[in-house]
């Protein structure tokens, strides 16, 4: 029987279950613990934190996660790969080093730090050198928002992670690595897959896609037959068991809740999917129409047949920029005629905003409980017991958005009757940090690996 390498997912986003990393390490055998912390706008939040304190700018949850698994990791039983570094991987590494020191674990925890994805310090030079960094959705050049850019990071691939593992890193900390590279890299390292072994690399990427959202492939958020999914309170996070030929199984530890089946895995495969023929990553283009799935025992799905193709000569860049302000307020109207009352409140509020001559880029009303998410498709509803009136505005003028937040509460006494649910107080004005996806030539992005011991 050929050798098997096990990669367990312990976080699917920053804010995921704090118990999951420890449960993955203690619940049964895994070789690697993969922790994904970064969503599209996470980098900009971290950039703001770093501006306030140069020692910050990484996912703080990672320190707690490492604390919960430090024993087995220090003892060499499991290695950790995480994109927790955010916009400051070196500071994240220092925090883990300090943690290891404090806990008095055996000296010599080797931490690999991957850098080179941060393009913010170079952004003017890049634009001057002719890199338009045009918005992939709108085609607008970055010039149009240049003075409002908060962060800019290239999505980098598996190469520097493999390099760190080769140098003996027990913990690899990256910034904006692709989520999927965190899983593919240890497989590539362990099996020695070549950089142009497109089918195997694509298999590693698809393994990564399946587990990158944590329990979302092992019973969490699964629509099919959801009532029968057992013991979600004790849900098992997913594990990839990979073989050298690129085939792998998705499973979870024995004794955990949730479910791994062809249906739970298929739901995750189609999540956030674009063109299934070309799932583009820095390492390889994976073809989702090549994937074959088969039930392989209880809570175990075999995945095979995957093909890939050479990648493009570009990297995707995640840019975050300040895009004005927004606020959302809510009130709850009760039976009888709950919806009609809420609709009248909406008309009154809009008329008042108009008379104040407040201008917004957008005013958006929803009636939660009736039509907020499915709109007219939800159909007419009989006399509902209550409805939440939810109204939001956004615009460039902070003062106008502030003024809007003062117009909700007065409706309680000077608007339609049977209204409640305002205990939360005035809505908060939020600065909008928006996402600007762009492409850049691969050759201008150079990654580096440093080992901190």
């Amino acid at each position: 029987m050929s050798r098997i390498v096990r990669v367990g997912a312990g976080q699917g986003f920053w804010g995921d279950w704090l118990e999951a990393p420890r449960r993955q390490v203690e619940g049964g055998p895994i070789d690697y613990l993969m922790l994904d912390y970064l969503a599209e706008v996470t980098m900009s939040i971290l950039q703001k934190q770093k501006e306030r304190d140069p020692a910050m700018g990484y996912a703080r949850d990672f320190v707690g996660a490492m604390e919960s698994v430090l024993g087995p990791v220090s003892a060499g039983k499991v290695r950790v790969i995480a994109n927790a570094g955010g916009v400051n991987p070196p500071a994240c590494a220092q925090a883990i080093k300090a943690l290891a020191g404090r806990s008095g674990s055996r000296a010599g925890l080797r931490i690999g730090v991957v850098t080179g994805d941060d393009l913010l310090p170079r952004i003017d030079a890049l634009v001057d050198a002719g890199h338009a960094l045009a918005n992939m959705d709108t085609g607008d050049p970055l010039e149009t928002v240049r003075d409002r850019v908060l962060s800019a990071n290239a999505y980098i691939g598996s190469e520097p992670i493999v390099d760190a593992l080769r140098q003996g890193a027990q913990v690899v900390i990256t910034g904006r690595s692709t989520d999927t590279a965190l899983t593919m890299a240890p497989l590539r390292f362990e099996f020695g897959w070549a950089a142009d072994d497109w089918n195997r690399l694509a298999a590693g990427i698809i393994a990564g896609h399946i587990i990158e959202c944590g329990a979302q492939c092992s019973g969490g958020n699964c629509l099919y037959d959801w009532q029968s999914i057992p013991d979600l309170a004790n849900v098992g996070y997913p594990i990839v068991e990979a073989a050298e030929d690129g085939s792998f199984a998705i499973t979870k530890h024995a004794g955990t809740g949730g479910r791994v089946s062809v249906r739970t895995v298929t739901e995750q495969l189609v999540y956030e999917m674009g063109d299934p023929h070309s799932y583009i990553t820095p390492d390889v283009i994976a073809d989702f129409t090549s994937i074959r799935l088969a039930e392989d025992g209880p809570d175990r799905v075999r995945v095979f047949g995957i093909t890939g193709a050479p990648p493009t000569d570009k990297l995707k860049v995640s840019i975050a920029y300040r895009a004005g302000f927004k606020a959302v307020g809510t009130l709850v109207y009760s039976w009888p005629d709950a919806v009609e009352k809420a609709e009248l409140a909406d008309r009154i509020l809009r008329e008042r905003l108009d008379r104040l001559d407040l201008r917004f880029d957008k005013i958006h009303t929803e009636f939660v409980g009736v039509s907020a998410t499915h709109g007219r498709l939800a159909g007419q509803m009989a006399d509902v017991p209550e409805v939440q009136f939810r109204i939001g505005v956004r615009g460039e003028d902070r003062a106008a958005v502030e003024r809007f937040t003062r117009e909700i509460a007065p409706l309680v006494l000077n608007g339609p009757p049977s209204v409640t649910g305002f205990a939360g107080g005035r809505p908060k004005v939020e600065e909008i940090v928006a996402y600007w996806p762009a492409l850049i030539d691969k050759r201008v992005v150079t990654t580096a690996v440093e080992i901190v011991a």
Binding site: E40, V41, D137, N221, L223, Y224, R263, T266, E267, Q268, L269, V270, Y271, E272, M273, G274, D275, P276, H277, F288, T289, S290, I291, R292, L293, A323, K326, V328, K362, H364, E366, V368, A372, T373, H374, G375, R376, L377, A378, R390, G392, V393, R394, I432, V433, A434, Y435, P437
Partner: protein, 117 residues
């Protein structure tokens, strides 16, 4: 015979910027040809008319017994810009499952499709 998608398929949706994607998966592999044939691009565009501002694109994944729909302009700008409750398009999946399709009686019987109540 009228058949509700919610009885023959499951779905998951997500976002990329201002685009929502809906993956529609046949509950039984033998039902895939039915969703492939009747849940067309234009049928889905009509279903979401007035709710999205852009085009609908359809991809087929017969290997997974699934279709993938991209709904452009579905999320009021998407991500952090959006004022919608469902800013990340998480429940466009179930909105698509509200669709009812018309299947010839013979096919419906042969494939044991559940009839709409």
């Amino acid at each position: 015979m009228k058949v509700r998608l919610v009885d023959i398929a499951h779905a998951r949706s997500g976002d990329k910027g201002d685009t929502a994607n809906v993956g529609l998966i046949a509950v039984e592999p033998r039902w895939y040809p039915i969703i492939d044939r009747y849940v067309t691009r234009s049928r889905v565009a009509d279903h979401f008319a007035g709710m999205i501002s852009g085009d609908v694109v359809r991809f087929e994944l017969p290997n997974l017994f699934a279709l993938n729909f991209l709904l452009h302009g579905a999320l009021d700008g998407g991500g952090t810009l959006s004022l919608k409750t469902d800013a990340q398009g998480k429940v466009f999946s179930t909105a698509l499952l509200r669709m009812t399709i018309d299947v010839p009686d013979d096919d419906a019987r042969r494939l044991a499709l559940p009839a709409a109540p």
